[in-house]
Each structure stands twice: as structure tokens, then as C-alpha cells.
């Protein structure tokens, strides 16, 4: 296995704002790698740097063996990109969009025709390939962009929030395409997301917050750092309950979206004990929920806050874009 993406102390500022700082990554060929973080955390900037759209302020990055700052043209030749926002030409048909792409990447015509037909079938747009893209739904456009990003057989495929605004069914389908792609072509996939469950499907996940890398490992290893189960306890008096659990049960409760969150080694056995403890102190327990740790728990532990609230904010911002925004919220759980 060889290294396909390597960054050393990579950083980018916008004026006084440090968007990405001291980023060190090493991504192997064939990996599905997720960059997870809240909006404004530096994900899109990182993609911009790795795809040569932005110049690094500090450090260096090599993609497919070429330096992004000094050999941008070589880097561009070897990567495919699916952007966060729409980037297809609505006036052209699906086929014409692919045709444009093939020409601008200098693909031989027979290879283009063969790949385009295959990919349109893969993303289930073959029957509508000669329709203008303005007739397409958000999901169909996304699938077309995915096909386009893959058309020239890139060594690395970058996907910036590939499934934002899509219904769960389409999201699932896109994930199936990505898995198939990796298997068939051995391509490396670098994606950003703020959907935690998507990061769980990846080989490795980096968590980025405030422009800095806060964790990097396999999803399983990241979850293992939490050391046990997670209990969500909904109570009437959060402050008192928190204090009581800290002093009497030697736990470290956090405030979660659904009341208190505590990590315990053996969840099922501790529930009766903890409920009894709270009950005895006159604090009514309304609900207890036991979960295996998720990446969200890892995220909260590392950054001190949930990613969901920020994701909701992000879809709110995007909501200004009218009909797309509505679909966005519909797709968000």
C-alpha cells in the first residue's frame, strides 16, 4: 500500500482567521477516509487545499505524489471532486455535462462513451441522460456529480459533504456506489461529513474542530477510547442529579441533548443501582437509555459539545437557498 495523500503542518488563514492549522494526515491507497467535524470546523478548507483550489498558508500537501502548491496541474489530473454545492450546468443534459468533463480532461472519445454509459447506469440515470439537468431533483444532480467525478478514473475522489440534502434512501445508495467503487477500482476516497453515521462506515475517521485535528483512528478504535457503554438519563433536576452521580457513584456526567450522559463500564448492571440512588435523593428519573458508544459520543467527549446542534444550524444556513434548503431539512434526521 502506498501513501496517496500526505500533509505536513498544513495550514490556511483567511486574514486573521485560522481556518486550518498544523494538519498532519497520511492516507493510503484504497482507503475510505472521513473528515468529520462541525460546519466552520475547516473541512471544506481542507478539501480546497487538497484539490488545489486554495493555496496553503503554511506547510505542504502531496496528493497522488504531487505537491499541491508547486504542481497543481498534475494534482488536478489525478483527482476527482464532488463539491459541497451544486456544480453541474443546468442548461445542459446529463450526457452533455459528462461530455464537457471528458473533453476538459482530455479523455479519448471511445473511453468516454464507454465510461459514461457505465457510470450513468451505476447512478441510475441512464434513462434520463438526454434530459436537461434543470429537470432533475437534488438527489439526481448529486448522483450525476458523483458519476462525473468518477468519469476520468481519478486516483483519489474527494467528496465534500456528498450526502447533505439527500433523503436517507439516496444517501444509502451513494454509499453503496462508493463501496463498489473502492472494490472495483481500488480508488481512494476522501470525504467530509457531519453525519456521524457516515463516518462510521469509513476505514478511518479524522475529527477536526476549530481547524485542528483532534482525533484520528478507525471508528471502532475511536469508540473504544470511551471505555464502555453510554447511559442517557433524563431527570427532573439535572444539576442535583449531576452532583449526586459525581459524589456518590464516582461518575462524570455530562449535559447531553437528552438530559445527562454518563459513561459506565457495564451499563445494564448499573442502571438499577443508579436509578435507586437518584430516587433515594428525591430526584425523579423519567427515562434511561443505554447505548453502545457512537462517534457522536467521541465527538462530544473530544470537543465538549454535540455535532447535531451545529449540523442543524448548517442546514438552516443552507435553507436560504430556497427549495434546496427544504429538501435539506427533510433529509436531516
Amino acid at each position: 500500500m502506498s501513501t496517496v495523500i500526505e500533509t505536513k503542518g498544513l495550514g490556511r488563514d483567511y486574514g486573521d482567521l485560522v481556518a486550518v492549522d498544523a494538519l498532519n494526515l497520511e492516507i493510503q491507497q484504497g482507503e475510505i477516509f472521513a473528515l468529520l467535524g462541525p460546519n466552520g470546523g475547516g473541512k471544506t478548507t481542507t478539501v480546497g487545499l487538497l484539490t488545489t483550489l486554495l493555496r496553503p498558508s503554511r506547510g505542504s500537501a502531496r496528493v497522488a505524489g504531487y505537491d499541491v502548491a508547486s504542481q497543481p496541474a498534475e494534482v488536478r489530473r489525478h483527482i476527482g471532486v464532488v463539491f459541497q454545492g451544486p456544480s453541474v450546468d443546468e442548461q445542459l443534459t446529463a450526457w452533455e455535462n459528462l461530455d464537457f468533463h471528458a473533453r476538459i480532461y482530455n479523455m479519448p472519445r471511445p473511453l468516454f462513451r464507454q465510461r459514461a454509459a457505465e457510470l450513468l447506469a451505476l447512478v441510475e440515470l441512464a434513462e434520463r441522460q438526454h434530459e436537461p439537468v434543470r429537470n432533475f431533483s437534488g438527489g439526481m444532480r448529486r448522483r450525476l456529480e458523483l458519476a462525473r467525478g468518477l468519469l476520468h478514473q481519478p486516483q483519489v475522489l474527494f467528496l465534500d459533504e456528498p450526502t447533505v440534502g439527500l433523503d436517507p434512501q439516496t444517501r444509502r445508495a451513494i454509499w453503496d456506489y462508493l463501496a463498489a467503487l473502492r472494490q472495483q477500482a481500488g480508488a481512494t476516497i476522501f470525504l467530509t461529513t457531519h453525519y456521524l453515521e457516515e463516518a462510521e462506515d469509513c476505514d478511518r475517521t479524522a475529527i477536526i474542530d476549530g481547524g485542528k485535528l483532534v482525533a484520528l483512528d478507525t471508528p471502532a478504535a475511536l469508540k473504544a477510547t470511551l471505555g464502555g457503554d453510554v447511559l442517557h438519563i433524563r431527570v427532573t433536576d439535572v444539576a442535583a442529579a449531576s452532583e449526586l452521580l459525581r459524589q456518590r457513584a464516582q461518575l462524570e456526567p455530562r449535559q447531553g441533548p437528552d438530559g445527562l450522559v454518563v459513561e459506565v463500564a457495564d451499563g445494564p448492571r448499573r442502571i438499577p443501582e443508579l436509578v435507586a440512588l437518584l430516587d433515594g435523593a428525591g430526584i425523579a428519573v423519567q427515562a434511561v437509555n443505554l447505548r453502545r458508544p457512537s462517534l457522536e459520543d467521541v465527538f462530544i467527549k473530544l470537543t465538549g459539545r454535540g455535532i447535531r446542534a451545529e449540523a442543524a444550524e448548517a442546514s438552516e444556513t443552507l435553507g436560504r437557498r430556497g427549495r434546496m434548503g427544504r429538501r435539506e431539512r427533510g433529509g436531516d434526521r
Partner: protein, 259 residues
């Protein structure tokens, strides 16, 4: 080269698909001719200072120029649209050299503006100014250069501005003075000094001057054109080429800059 052609091909495909735009931009010169020709010529009835041609015929070359400027400046807005609607990212992340992308934009904008310009030529017969094949060829050459100048200007403005509103604002602000100070509506001889300076820095003045000399070559009294022109046609075209370079170089440079 293939990237340049690809950019050109896409813009032409979009243009030809947009029938209503072609019709509207055809109706426009007719409208201007009717308004300027009929409206203003009634004011001037009796004066014979236009070398024996009607005022409508005098204005006609200016209307050709206006049509080209209009089309070119509003075609260059596609750069702004592409940026706003994301398509530019697809181009910028591709291996296509930035220079080829910028030149492709100039090529497509110029072609479209030239097409619209050529479509105004049949009006000459309507005005009783039958053109010879030689005149049509000369006019096409001048129109091509003007189309390139205006597209380069549009590209320059679009690289400096982020939003569509900003572009429209600047273009609308530019367009009227460029047209009014081009000599389209009145001869440029004997203008006050300050106005003369504005005329001299206006590419439209040189284009109108050249177009008029060719269009009226057979129709006007021989002395009139020589007396009222700015420069001979060849010099006008040379000056226009100078404007093209002056607009194109900073536009391409700004376009090629990595953020």
C-alpha cells in the same frame, strides 16, 4: 487548445438552446433604429449635414456596435453566473490551464456577439444601403474585433466582482456613456475638448467610426466621410486591438490567480 474549444462549445450550446434570447436581441437593434432614426430625425429634418444620407442610415452603424457591445457584455456575465452557481469550480479543479479557460470565455463571448452583429446586417438593405460582399467581409472583421474588445472588458469586470448585482450595476453604468460618446448619434467633429478626451478613450468610438466608413462608403458624399471620421478604418481597428490587449491581460491574470 482542447480546453479552450470545450469552454467555447459549451457556451455556444447554451446560447443556441436559448431561442428567446436570440429573438430578443434581434428585436433590440430594430427597436433602437426605429426610436433613434424616426424620433431624432424628425428633429433634424431639413439639415443636410450628414453627407446626403438619412439620419437613420447615419445611426445604423452605431446600432450595429451597440448590439455587439450589449451581447458581449451580457455574455461575459456567464463567468459571474458560473461562479455563483458553482460550475466554475468544476472547471477550476480540472487540469485545463487557466489561460485556456479565460481565452475560451473570450472566444465564446466574441463568437456570440459577432453572430448577433451579423444578424443586424440585413437591416442595411431595409435602409436602402445595399452592401457588397467586400463590405460585408470588412464589417465582419471590424465586428469581430469589437466583439473581442467588449468580451474582454466584460471578463475584466467579472473577475473583479463577486456578485451578479455588482456586475449588472457596473455594466449598466458603463454602457450608456460608451454608447452616447461613441459618435453613434452625432458626428464627432468639433466637440469641446473635455468631451473629445472621453471619446478618445472610448473603444466604441473607434468601432462606430470604422463601421460607419464601411457602411456608408457608397451612399454618402465622398467628402463627408473623410471630413467627419476619426481615423482611417485600418487605424481604428489597430486602436481597437490595443484596447483588446489592455483589457485582456489583466483579466486573464486575475482569472489565473489561485485563491
Amino acid at each position: 487548445m482542447s480546453a479552450l474549444y470545450t469552454i467555447w462549445l459549451r457556451d455556444l450550446t447554451r446560447f443556441l438552446r436559448n431561442r428567446s434570447r436570440i429573438v430578443t436581441s434581434l428585436a433590440q437593434p430594430l427597436l433602437y433604429l426605429a426610436i433613434f432614426g424616426t424620433g431624432l430625425s424628425s428633429l433634424l429634418s431639413g439639415t443636410s449635414s450628414l453627407g446626403g444620407v438619412s439620419f437613420t442610415a447615419f445611426v445604423y452603424p452605431g446600432v450595429i456596435g451597440l448590439t455587439i457591445m450589449f451581447t458581449a457584455l451580457f455574455t461575459a456575465i456567464s463567468v459571474v453566473y458560473d461562479r455563483e452557481f458553482g460550475f466554475l469550480k468544476e472547471v477550476l479543479v480540472s487540469p485545463a490551464p487557466r489561460l485556456a479557460v479565460a481565452l475560451g470565455k473570450v472566444a465564446s463571448g466574441s463568437t456570440i456577439a459577432l453572430l448577433q452583429g451579423v444578424l443586424t446586417l440585413p437591416l442595411a438593405w431595409l435602409l436602402g444601403l445595399p452592401l457588397t460582399l467586400g463590405q460585408v467581409a470588412q464589417l465582419t472583421g471590424i465586428m469581430a474585433v469589437l466583439a473581442a474588445v467588449c468580451t474582454a472588458l466584460g471578463l475584466l469586470v467579472s473577475t473583479r466582482l463577486r456578485g451578479i448585482e455588482g456586475y449588472n450595476l457596473i455594466i449598466n453604468f458603463l454602457m450608456m456613456p460608451l454608447f452616447l460618446l461613441s459618435g453613434a448619434l452625432f458626428p464627432l467633429a468639433g466637440l469641446p475638448g473635455w468631451m473629445n478626451v472621453l471619446v478618445r478613450i472610448n473603444p466604441m468610438a473607434y468601432a462606430t467610426d470604422a463601421l460607419r466608413q464601411v457602411v456608408l462608403a457608397g451612399a454618402a458624399q465622398p467628402g463627408f466621410l473623410a471630413a467627419s471620421r476619426l481615423h482611417p478604418v485600418s487605424l481604428d481597428v489597430l486602436v481597437l486591438l490595443g484596447f483588446f490587449v489592455v483589457f485582456l491581460v489583466p483579466a486573464v491574470r486575475a482569472f489565473s490567480k489561485q485563491e
